[in-house]
Symmetry: C2
Subunit: 195 residues, 2 copies
DNA sequence: CCATGAATTGATAGTAACTCTCAAAATGTA
DNA sequence: TACATTTTGAGAGTTACTATCAATTCATGG
C-alpha cells in the first residue's frame, strides 16, 4: 500500500529521463542552443509535459535537494558541538556521503550553474532556501529565534564562504573531493578568517 | 573636451528615465503585469531601444554599480587595519554616504530583488561580481593572490553575512539605516560569530 | 474482467521577452 | 554646409512559457 504504484514510478522515471537527456544535450550543443522541443524529442515526450515537471528550463539543471540530507545530518550532530563546528562537520560529511557517479553529475551541473548566466541567475533562490533552512535548524539547536541576528549572520557567512569553494571545485574540474574543499573553507571560517 | 557631450548626457538621461518609469509601473501594476512595451511607451522610446540599454527586463531593476564606490573606499582604508575590519568600515561608510532619496529607491529595488522570483534570480550575478572585485582588492591590499583560499573565504563570508542583512532591511521597511544593520552583522563576523 | 473516476499527457493557440537586420534620424566634425 | 558616426525605430522571427481541452493511461470497486 505504501510502495509506489506504477504511476509514481513512471513519473520519477520521466523526470529522471528529462534531466539526463537535457544534461546530455547541454553538454553536446550548449545550453542556449538546446531547445525545450529538442529535449522533449530526446526524452520522447511532449514539450508541454516538460513544463509539468520543471517550471523553467533552468530548473532542469538547478534542482538540488540535498537540503533534506543536510538538515537531517545537522540534527544528528552532538548538541555540545559549537554551531559553526556542527555546520562544518555536517557539510563535510554530507558531501563525502554522495556516491561517485552522483558527484560527477553534480560537478557537471555546478559547472553549468557557474558558467551559463541564465542558470547562474537561478542559484540565488536555492541558496536563500538553504540559508533559511540552516538558520531554522541552528536556531532550534541553540534555542534561539530563527530571526536572531547572530543565527542569520552565522549561516549567511557559512553559505557565503562556500561560494568560492564551489567555484574552486569546478575550476580544478573536481580534482579534489568537494568534501575536502568545503572542510578547508569552513575551517578557515572557524579559525576567525585569519589573514 | 572631457565634459560629457550632448550625446552622453542624453544617453544617461534616457537610461535614467527607463529605470524611473519601470520602477513606477512595477510598483503600480506589479512586475509581471508590466510589459516592456508599456515601459517603452511611458519612457517615450521604442521597445528596441530599451534592450539597447538593458539586456533583460530584470536588469532594469538589478543594475547596481555601487561597486566602484565600494572599491575606491576600500582602497582608502588605512593599510594597518586588519582586512575584515577594513571591509566592515568600508561597507558602513559607503552605505552611510548614499543620499536619502537614493536610499529610498535602493530600498524599493531591494524589495523587488527579494520578492519577485525572476529578479531575485538575477542577484547571483551581481553578488559574484562584487565578490570577485572585493577579493581582488583585498588580495592586493594584503599582498596575496586573488585566488588565495583565505582571501576568497573571507570575502565570501562577508558577502554571505550581508544577505540576511538586506532581508532584514527590507523586512523592517528601512526603519533603521542600512549602514547600521550592515555594521552590526559584520561586527558579529569580526567577533568570530559568537553564539 | 470490466466500468467508472481520476490523474497524466498531448495538441493547439496565444503571450511576451528577446534577437537580428536595416533604414531613418540625430549628433559630432571638418 | 557636407560628411561620417552614432543612435534610434520598425519589422519580422525565435523561443520560453501559459492556458485550455480533449485523449490517453492508470487505479479501483464490483
Amino acid at each position: 500500500m505504501n510502495s509506489p504504484g506504477l504511476r509514481e514510478r513512471k513519473k520519477a522515471r520521466t523526470r529522471r529521463t528529462i534531466q539526463e537527456q537535457a544534461l546530455r544535450l547541454f553538454a553536446e550543443q550548449g545550453y542556449d542552443a538546446t531547445t525545450i522541443e529538442q529535449i522533449a524529442e530526446a526524452a520522447e515526450i511532449s514539450p508541454s509535459t516538460i513544463f509539468r515537471y520543471f517550471a523553467t528550463k533552468e530548473d532542469i539543471v538547478v534542482q538540488d535537494d540535498y537540503d533534506p540530507l543536510l538538515i537531517s545530518m545537522l540534527a544528528e550532530q552532538p548538541k555540545d558541538k559549537p554551531p559553526l563546528r556542527a555546520l562544518r562537520d555536517t557539510f563535510r560529511e554530507s558531501m563525502a556521503m554522495i556516491p561517485a557517479d552522483e558527484q560527477r553529475e553534480l560537478l557537471a551541473r555546478a559547472r553549468l550553474q557557474l558558467t551559463i548566466p541564465a542558470i547562474r541567475a537561478r542559484v540565488t533562490q536555492n541558496m536563500m532556501d538553504t540559508l533559511g533552512l540552516l538558520a531554522e535548524a541552528i536556531a532550534k539547536r541553540e534555542g534561539r529565534d530563527p530571526a536572531d541576528l547572530a543565527v542569520q549572520t552565522l549561516t549567511g557567512a557559512v553559505v557565503g564562504a562556500l561560494i568560492p569553494t564551489l567555484q574552486r571545485w569546478v575550476q580544478e574540474d573536481g580534482a579534489r573531493p568537494l568534501a575536502e574543499l568545503v572542510d578547508e573553507a569552513l575551517a578557515l571560517l572557524e579559525a576567525g578568517l585569519p589573514i
